[in-house]
């Protein structure tokens, strides 16, 4: 297979994130999120990508590779390197994600149970003080989807609670968790605990 025959399309998700769609499966029917270079050890494609200056996060999912970069890195520059790395990987026989990466990761069902336990015992009793509730919506591979309700929905401090309370607790208790994604429709929150103002 010639590397030049592989078609890759880059689609910006935000200033810091770009999704690269490949014309063939990279990691068939599975996904894995790498949040650091260290986590990518022994996973050839992710390792290749983390070798590029400025890459901070990699999610490999079927025919897509979603990459986050630091503010210093420039997409036009690193985008070419990302394409080259993906093509080089596909030309090899290496797996996109090594079996070793999965060794410490519980199955989706086990991860669901463990995350739910953290929510039930650590998180929800505390956020209930502000009328809030955190629901586990789904676990796909090592990605966790949660929803914030009650006083947390639309709360001006929801981001702080998510990133520095919920994420922190889940990662400390459950090994191998990749992205923790908030799927809340915050705009529909009717009773947020904190409402922003310009005071």
């Amino acid at each position: 297979m010639s590397q030049s025959e592989i078609s890759i399309t880059g689609e910006p998700v935000s200033d810091a994130t770009c999704r690269f769609t490949v014309d063939r499966p990279v990691y068939p029917d599975k996904s894995f999120a790498f949040l650091s270079k260290e986590a990518a050890d022994n996973s050839p494609l992710a390792s290749r990508l983390f070798e590029i200056d400025g890459i901070t996060r990699v999610v490999i999912s079927h025919d897509q590779v979603t990459v986050n970069k630091s503010a210093q890195a420039d997409w036009p520059v690193i985008g070419k390197s990302i394409g080259t790395a993906i093509r080089a990987h596909l030309a090899s026989d290496d797996p996109a994600v090594s079996d070793a990466a999965w060794e410490n990761v519980p199955s989706s069902e086990e991860m669901r149970e463990q995350v739910q336990h953290v929510l039930d015992t650590d998180i929800n009793p505390s956020v209930a003080e502000h009328g809030g509730v955190i629901r586990l919506i789904d676990v796909k591979e090592n990605q966790v989807f949660i929803q914030m309700g009650g006083g947390c929905q639309g709360c001006g401090q929801a981001d702080v609670t998510l990133k520095f309370g919920i994420e922190n607790s889940i990662r400390a208790a459950v090994p191998g968790v990749g992205d923790i994604l908030d799927v809340t429709d915050h705009a529909s929150g009717r009773n947020p605990y904190y409402t922003p103002s310009t005071k």
């Binding site: 001006g156 309370g165 005071k199």
Partner: protein, 452 residues
């Protein structure tokens, strides 16, 4: 990995932008708020609670905290926390503005005094007290004038008066606003206590005096602009100059549309930047973001105010710099004393509209959101008020209904897109007795169109 102390008041609009920026930069973060996060016990290194009103005590607490978690930068996200941030930075020996400078920038009277001493062109003003005889005061005022609290933000409490009777009514209305602010526990840190911070950031008992003080300021006619800049060792770099195409002639001074790049002639833009730099120097500001409001009077620029903070609300979303860097990433990197060239703003014209609260009441429904988002050039429309929220317009209120963001080939196209998008929005607001401060009307739900 460096650790950044993010000072995030619980009611700031700036949480998402700063938390997102810190995450993208991959720095360790400790979030500091004035109220404990419900999950603080689960992450004591990441979530801290401080009394923002007592800068000295807060600084002492952070010094203790830093013995186990080293702090490399302190970033105040809005004007409520600039004084305490300066005190903490001073205690830790980090890059910072002096406490005196940020105190002056946070207090409109002190600011005017510094401007006067340094010869910065600015409206003439007089410090007055709510306890003075208003009829006598009115007799001494040159009209038109502007009655203004010392430290509220977003034009809250700012009222124009063209004659003595309007002046007396305006002062009465301002008194009610200030008393309400002091009566509300969540607002306690936003009053003018900073005016009373001493050189070490300690607050004195005179805060109760300053909360009864206000400025009577000469009204300066002409268009207004906003300048967003970054100070490094006292040198100003202009990040963006925004035109405000809607006239701000009163009686209230509602901010609506900001568009950059400015359509003013290059020489006028240069004069504005020089004026803002002179004003920052007069205050003693040397580091970090500034946000300046400048009027273009007949005889040249006149500085309304300079704040030691970045642009408020969600407005910073429209600013993007080379390599996609956000304003907040730039501010954090500057605070970390990273050695980097400040990047240029991406050149495409951009703008934001702060959706004004047209009337008091309870927000029942919002119509036309999809149509507003579909307007050519519109990037996003965010309704930040929640359904059921009690709305209070200026001069009593301090919240926006939401924000409209646009990007287009020219400033004219940006402005047109913002206006068209706004015209598609309809807010159903149910008047309530407690919200309609003047008149107390209780009629059935009314529809408020987006038009200003």
């Amino acid at each position: 990995m460096p650790r950044v102390l993010l000072l995030l008041p619980t009611t700031t609009y700036r949480t998402e932008a700063f938390v997102g920026a810190a995450t993208r930069l991959g720095v360790d973060v400790t979030v500091v708020s004035e109220q404990p996060n419900t999950l603080a016990r689960l992450n004591p290194a990441g979530l801290l609670t401080l009394d923002f009103k007592d800068s000295q005590k807060a600084a002492q607490r952070v010094v203790e905290f830093s013995t186990s978690h080293g702090i490399d930068a302190v970033v105040p996200v809005d004007s409520q926390v600039v004084v305490v941030a300066a005190a903490i930075s001073a205690a830790l020996g980090l890059r910072h503005n002096s406490i005196e400078s940020v105190t002056a920038a946070h207090d409109k009277h002190l600011m005017r005094e510094r401007f006067k001493q340094a010869g910065v062109p600015a409206p003439q003003s007089t410090l007055c007290s709510l306890d003075e005889d208003r009829a006598a005061l009115a007799g001494q005022v040159d009209f038109p004038c502007v009655v203004k609290p010392l430290s509220l933000a977003a034009s809250q409490g700012v009222i124009r008066a063209d004659d003595e009777s309007q002046f007396i009514r305006a002062v009465g209305r301002l008194q009610a606003i200030l008393e309400r602010q002091h009566g509300m526990p969540t607002a306690s840190c936003s009053t003018s206590v900073s005016a009373c911070a001493d050189k070490r950031g300690r607050m004195s008992d005179s805060s109760s005096t300053s909360s009864r003080q206000f400025l009577v300021e000469q009204f300066v006619g002409g268009p207004e602009v906003a300048l967003e800049g970054m100070l490094t060792r006292g040198e100003l770099r202009v990040l963006a100059l925004f035109d405000k195409p809607d006239p701000l002639d009163g009686p209230f001074f509602e901010e609506t549309i900001y568009v950059t790049p400015s359509r003013l002639a290059a020489e006028k833009q240069k004069a504005i930047a020089q004026c803002a730099e002179q004003a920052a120097r007069a205050l003693g500001l040397t580091e970090g973001p500034i946000h300046a409001e400048v009027r273009l009077a007949k005889d040249g620029p006149s500085v309304i105010e300079v704040n030691s903070r970045s642009i408020g609300g969600l407005c910073s979303r429209m600013l993007r710099f080379e390599t996609g860097m956000s304003l907040e990433e730039l501010i954090i990197r500057h605070a970390l004393e990273e050695d980097f060239e400040l990047p240029e703003r991406q050149s495409q014209a951009t703008g934001v509209m702060m959706i004004p609260t047209a009337r008091a009441g309870r927000l029942i429904e919002v119509h036309g959101l999809d149509e507003a988002k579909a307007v050519s050039g519109i990037e996003d429309v965010t309704i930040s008020a929640h359904l059921g929220q009690r709305l209070v317009p200026l001069p009593e209120g301090s919240r926006y209904l939401g924000f409209i963001f646009a990007r287009a080939d020219s400033p004219e196209a940006v402005e047109a897109a913002l206006r068209e998008s706004h015209s598609k929005l309809k807010f159903v607001i149910e008047p309530t007795n407690d919200c309609t401060r003047e008149g107390g009307r209780t009629s059935p739900a009314e529809e408020s169109t987006g038009a200003v």
